[in-house]
Amino acid sequence: MTTGALGKDLLDLESLSAAQITAILDTAVPLKAVSERKIKKVPTLRGATVANLFFEASTRTRVSFEFAEKRLSADAVNVAAAGSSVSKGETLVDTARNLEAMRIDMVVVRHGASGAARFLADRIDSNVINAGDGTHEHPTQGLLDLLTLRERWGTLAGKRVCICGDVLHSRVARSNIHGLRKLGAEVAICGPRTLLPHAAEDALGVTVIDRIEAAIEWADALNILRLQLERMEAGYIPSLREYNRVFGVTRERLERAPRDILILHPGPMNRGVEIDSDVADGPHSVILDQVTNGVAVRMAVLYLLRGGRPDQAAAAGAAAGDS
């Protein structure tokens, strides 16, 4: 069981073991049930203060973390870049140290720079949870996708998941690839070559599929990424209509799937671009399950990180097993 224990921070899925990822998912299952109770709150993190430090816009992830914190009885403070001293040029570390001086225990951080979460984690004592750093990772999104798939399939081993769209700029894709592969799934990526990482086969251990029809034929699940509209302006794709025509997941294309296929999307969706409304709201979609599971995995991470310190563990050892 100790192999499933987490360290001080959750920065990525790449550095976690399969046992650690499984421990988070296993913990998320009973915690998910807390949200189904009449009183959706347990006293587990009573007295802990969490700062949600969002240097990039986010509604879904921030709200999801906030629900997770509140359902575990932690006190949450939201700090958004706009309107805070961040916009006056205060550095990431200064902001966090100031919060720490007010005695916070955990920081949830989203930042536009890859590696920002680790940079912070190395410099402050609080637990740090990465809520998305640049194009690096978004580990809790990866975890919620894993939980959603595991709920449907029981196990991920031997299953095939294709991540579709702008994999190059996607921290969601990176967390998914690492998490899925560690739990034994086969992973492919599909999209315009301009939006796929170079040498992905070797660097990430994934298969590259060029046509969405072939991806649908191959996969047990598609995780369809949001196409950032800025990518068109930057010249990665000719037009949104063209993208939808070639790579859009439509009902007509899905109807040719040889097996039951699950459709995931991290949101927010561009309906009619990467995914059609028929598909997003259709029987294959588990998109709202992902949202529900997001709160559960974030509760699990908050619970597992905020454990006693190792030095305190020895002192309490003898008392831990009693009734």
């Binding site: 224990a5 913990t27 049930a33 109770r37 006693g308 003898a318 009734s323």
Partner: protein, 183 residues
């Protein structure tokens, strides 16, 4: 470590559970509104056994549930790696019911305190009773059991080890000396 002392063997366990089942119904005056809730993990199996014995004697089907009190523990900040969270599953709305909390051993009373807090988050029973197979003494809170299988006075360096066939392959209760580095 010295050989364990047998507090209850399998036959004695069976007899004791039968008496406890009778005592529960005696105290609650029947099975109307009765719910048996076991504390994870061995309490859940003991609750199922007691419920089956009550069903056989009284007819009907007493609802049985499971309570995992991990999220309500008062020592989470000090016990090192987080304990595994199990399932809480209450089959019925507990408002106005008579809930019998079932556990294997009553020691400090902190588990029962946590269970009472957790039950309060699910509803407001008319009455809550506590049934334990072994009351080993040493309570640190003002908590007492209503139905007890066997009372023993165990020393702080002794463990009371209850085994149930569903999890351990045999029924029984044993007194062992705690090893110097036991956790």
């Amino acid at each position: 470590m010295s050989a364990p002392t047998v507090l209850l063997d399998a036959r004695a366990c069976e007899r004791t559970l039968r008496r406890m089942a009778d005592e529960i119904v005696e105290r609650t005056g029947g099975t109307d509104g009765l719910v048996l809730v076991g504390i994870q993990r061995r309490g859940v199996h003991l609750a199922a056994r007691l419920a089956a014995l009550i069903d056989a004697r009284e007819g009907g089907a007493v609802p049985r549930g499971a309570l995992d009190i991990t999220l309500y523990r008062d020592d989470l900040q000090s016990i090192g790696p987080r304990p595994v969270v199990g399932t809480t599953d209450l089959p019925v709305d507990i408002d106005g019911t008579i809930v019998v909390i079932v556990d294997d051993v009553l020691y400090t009373g902190r588990t029962v305190r946590a269970a009472l807090d957790e039950l309060a988050d699910f509803g407001r029973p008319a009455r809550i009773l506590l049934a334990v197979l072994i009351d080993r003494g040493g309570q640190e809170l003002p908590i007492r059991a209503d139905v007890v299988g066997k009372t023993v006075s165990a020393l702080p360096d002794q463990n009371v080890d209850v085994r149930v066939a569903e999890l351990d392959g045999e029924d029984g209760a044993f007194l062992t000396r705690r090893g110097p580095s036991a956790a």
